[in-house]
């Protein structure tokens, strides 16, 4: 009898443990944020400060811009995130997905800029690249060097074959894999930017958009471009041990590793806070976050978090986000954005 009792007890305990598990949507008092790994360092800094002010610290997951949008647009209700960060603008397809799932009112906030830099070890030579050089060195198919309007698989092995002003070193570029938002932006701004300097390729865009995209947004796969993983720190470390290689990563990593790596100038422009903010540096992009309005008032603190993020002490030119490597918006745009954000202005979908 005794043992049956014991066995029943064990069974009961297991049953209780299982029954308590599938509790439905537990109310939340911490803000839940998902999204871009580029915005993650900035969002976490704000969250931390916000938490120190006596609020529960928001929970931030680094899911990538696309993954964040997917979670964000899944629906209304406390099992879904309140805010998503993005290193690119919301796509209209994503906006539609949101609408379809009942996420009607969304506030868009532009928070600042991020530059993508091409850098090498300080032991190497400092170089200047044009977007055209970057396309010719890294594009999968490039115009025939012998002339004519014909595409050939990228034949270039060294930088001075691409452009005689560049050093005679092997083309070896370490950069992020296709899943990364940095790679998307690099393809779009640098590779495509250089690609469309060829008029006859730019002309293809009007005839056959997908062909144009496949020419201008593909990176060579013969080993000259090395996918070094999502970890930008790893790229910086590898550059240190290989002075000939170049690396592609975000501006904040350059800022934190000044003693180890130097950035190449692009079109003669040095990536600096001012040149990126003014748009002179050609490879830069805007950073965003999106707020789900239906959760404001349901999950406490969302308004406070938005206010903290858009306060001068955070995103202003002297703010703490600048210390983390974010590039602030111009003054007038910041004022306008702050008003929009704190007033939680909804997107219409037409702006995308």
């Amino acid at each position: 009898m005794k043992f049956q009792m014991k066995a029943t007890l064990v069974g009961a305990a297991a049953a209780v443990a299982l029954a308590s598990a599938p509790a439905t949507a537990i109310a939340r008092d911490t803000i839940s944020i998902v999204g871009s790994s580029t915005v993650y360092p900035f969002a976490t800094t704000v969250a931390e400060r916000f938490g120190r002010g006596g609020n529960p610290t928001p929970k931030i997951e680094s899911t990538g811009s696309g993954g964040g949008m997917k979670l964000f647009c899944q629906g209304i209700g406390t099992d879904n995130p309140d805010i998503t960060n993005a290193s690119r603008r919301m796509k209209s397809s994503e906006f539609e997905m949101c609408q379809k799932n009942g996420v009607k009112e969304i506030t868009e906030v532009v928070i600042g800029y991020d530059g993508i830099v091409i850098a090498n070890s300080v032991k190497g030579e400092k170089i200047d690249l044009s977007k055209r050089d970057i396309f010719l060195a890294l594009g999968k198919e490039v115009p025939d060097p012998k002339g004519g309007e014909k595409l050939v698989p990228n034949p270039y092995k060294t930088w001075n074959e691409v452009n005689s002003d560049l050093p005679n070193t092997k083309i070896e570029v370490l950069g992020p894999p296709p899943t990364s938002g940095t790679r998307d932006a690099f393809n779009e701004l640098a590779i495509e930017g250089g690609c469309k300097t060829f008029d006859w390729i730019a002309a293809i865009k009007d005839e056959d958009k997908s062909k144009y995209k496949s020419i201008c947004r593909s990176i060579r796969e013969d080993g000259a471009y090395v996918e070094a993983g999502e970890n930008d720190n790893l790229i910086v470390q590898k550059l240190g041990s290989n002075p000939q290689a170049l690396g592609v990563f975000g501006y904040s990593f350059l800022d934190q590793n000044r003693g180890k790596v130097q950035a190449a100038t692009i079109e003669g422009v040095e990536p600096r806070m001012e040149t990126i903010a003014s748009g002179d540096y050609p490879v830069s992009r805007s950073l965003f976050f999106y707020v789900k309005k239906a959760h404001v008032g349901v999950v406490p603190g969302i308004e406070g978090y938005v206010k903290e993020f858009t306060s001068e002490r955070a995103w202003g030119p002297d703010g703490y986000l600048v210390d983390k490597g974010m590039i602030p918006l111009p003054d007038d745009m910041r004022a306008k954005m702050a008003k929009q954000a704190q007033g939680l202005k909804s997107m219409t979908g037409k702006e995308l």
Binding site: A7, A25, E48, K59, D255, N257, R258, D318
Partner: protein, 422 residues
């Protein structure tokens, strides 16, 4: 001498040589393994040891009620909004007079960690009589300063500080106003964007809750399944099918269990993301096959004579199992469970998908609070731009390894102590 003996004699030397070579290969393999271990440990310890210490800067702080905006130091509300930063900035300006340029002042203020004002608040909270007085206080240094003080002399020119800042730090160092102390906050704090404030406290607590959930579910379920399959289940195609499946599950990559968790626990049952309860459930799925397989092996080692003896004395099947088989097999089951737990403790892949890769500052108070776990914390720090996180990453790896080694040693000791041979 017969012909055969001659033949054997002739080949003897060759056979000895062969055997020696064979042994040498074995020793070589062990050597390679040990070397890899040695390289791993030197790298991790070499990088990580410095993170267990952090630097403080001594400043003479006057807790002026006017600057702080506090008239009653026992009022928490006032302390929360007090301008401790202002007091620290004033102290820095006084220590290095003549810094008037705004840009330069910013550089000067950057010497002290942004967390120092919270330390100051706690200090004043603990002793309200400090208000209005002047005291020599040790304040936490910024991570760049800390890193600079930790780098050996010859490498210092590369540091991420400007010449003026280096001058100030060297001034402080020469005057004995910097101090290297044990980094206790590394074990008590949660994650932070400031390396000098970040710690593995919340990750350890998160790992603890996750492991508790995993243990409470996987041990009873695993052992019950093993007992049923070994002692009660009929031998037929169906049980064979189950056995094959359990063995297959043990070899499934762990990320698949994360996908399963996402589909079932989050999407179907509506469990919240990023909580230890969910992490524990997913890791339970992952460790169950290991526990079932080792438990079955442990039950198999109990000799049939024990069962037959008990049955002969009139024990029921259940009494045989509970009185005789289970106590004898328990050490083996425990060992298997500990090894399974150690595996689960070091796992990140399935947790990526259920939202446990998150920035968690507050220390979780229970299995339903958002949390992260140790290996995930390591993953997050390895991806952070600040240079000090390199050392922090290695230090966190050292802590994780210490836990794993302890668990595995426990498993070995248990086996040695409790094992019975027949």
């Amino acid at each position: 001498m017969s012909e055969t003996t001659a033949k054997v004699r002739k080949s003897l030397a060759r056979r000895y040589r062969q055997e020696k070579r064979f042994q040498a290969y074995g020793i070589l393999s062990i050597g390679v393994g040990l070397l890899a271990l040695l390289i791993l440990f030197t790298d991790i310890i070499g990088k990580g040891h410095s993170a267990f210490f952090e630097h403080y800067i001594q400043l003479e702080i006057s807790l002026d009620p006017d600057v702080l905006g506090v008239d009653d130091a026992s009022d928490d509300e006032q302390l929360n909004y007090a301008n401790f930063g202002g007091v620290i900035k004033e102290a820095l300006r006084e220590r290095f007079p003549g810094v008037d340029d705004r840009q330069q002042q910013r550089q000067l203020y950057a010497l002290v960690s942004s967390g120092a004002s919270y330390n100051l608040r706690d200090e004043l909270k603990a002793d309200p009589s400090l208000l209005g007085g002047t005291r020599e206080l040790w304040l936490l240094a910024d991570d760049d300063v800390d890193l600079y003080l930790k780098t050996p002399e010859r490498k210092r020119p590369d540091a991420r500080l400007d010449d003026q800042q280096k001058q100030w730090i060297e001034d402080l160092e020469a005057a004995g106003e910097t101090d290297k102390r044990f980094n206790a906050s590394f074990f008590s704090h949660g994650d932070s964007r400031e390396p000098e404030l970040a710690g593995i406290g919340s990750a350890i607590v998160g790992s603890f809750f996750t492991m508790i959930v995993t243990l409470c579910l996987s041990f009873p379920i695993g052992v019950a399944a093993a007992i049923y399959l070994e002692e009660f289940a009929p031998r037929n195609k169906f049980t064979d099918f189950i056995e094959v499946n359990i063995n297959n599950l043990a070899a499934v990559p762990s990320i698949i269990f994360g996908l399963l968790g996402l589909a079932i626990f989050i999407n179907l049952f509506g469990l919240p993301r990023s909580v230890p309860l969910l992490g524990g459930l997913v890791l339970t799925l992952m460790t169950l096959p290991t526990i079932i397989i080792t438990s079955r092996a442990a039950i198999k080692t109990v000799p049939p004579s024990v069962r037959e003896g008990a049955l002969a004395l009139g024990a029921s099947k259940m009494q045989v199992v509970l009185h005789h088989v289970l106590p004898l097999a328990l050490p083996g089951m425990l060992t298997g469970s500990i090894i399974g737990m150690a595996q689960a403790l070091g796992e990140t892949a399935p947790l990526l998908l259920i939202g446990m890769v998150a920035f968690i500052v507050d220390i979780p108070g229970g299995p339903t609070d958002p949390a992260t776990v140790l290996p995930v914390q390591i993953y997050l720090w390895a991806d952070s731009p600040e240079q000090s996180f390199v050392a922090m990453t290695s230090a966190a790896i050292m802590v994780l390894l210490a836990f794993l080694i302890t668990m595995n040693t426990l498993a070995v000791v248990l086996r040695k102590r409790l094992e019975r041979r027949w």
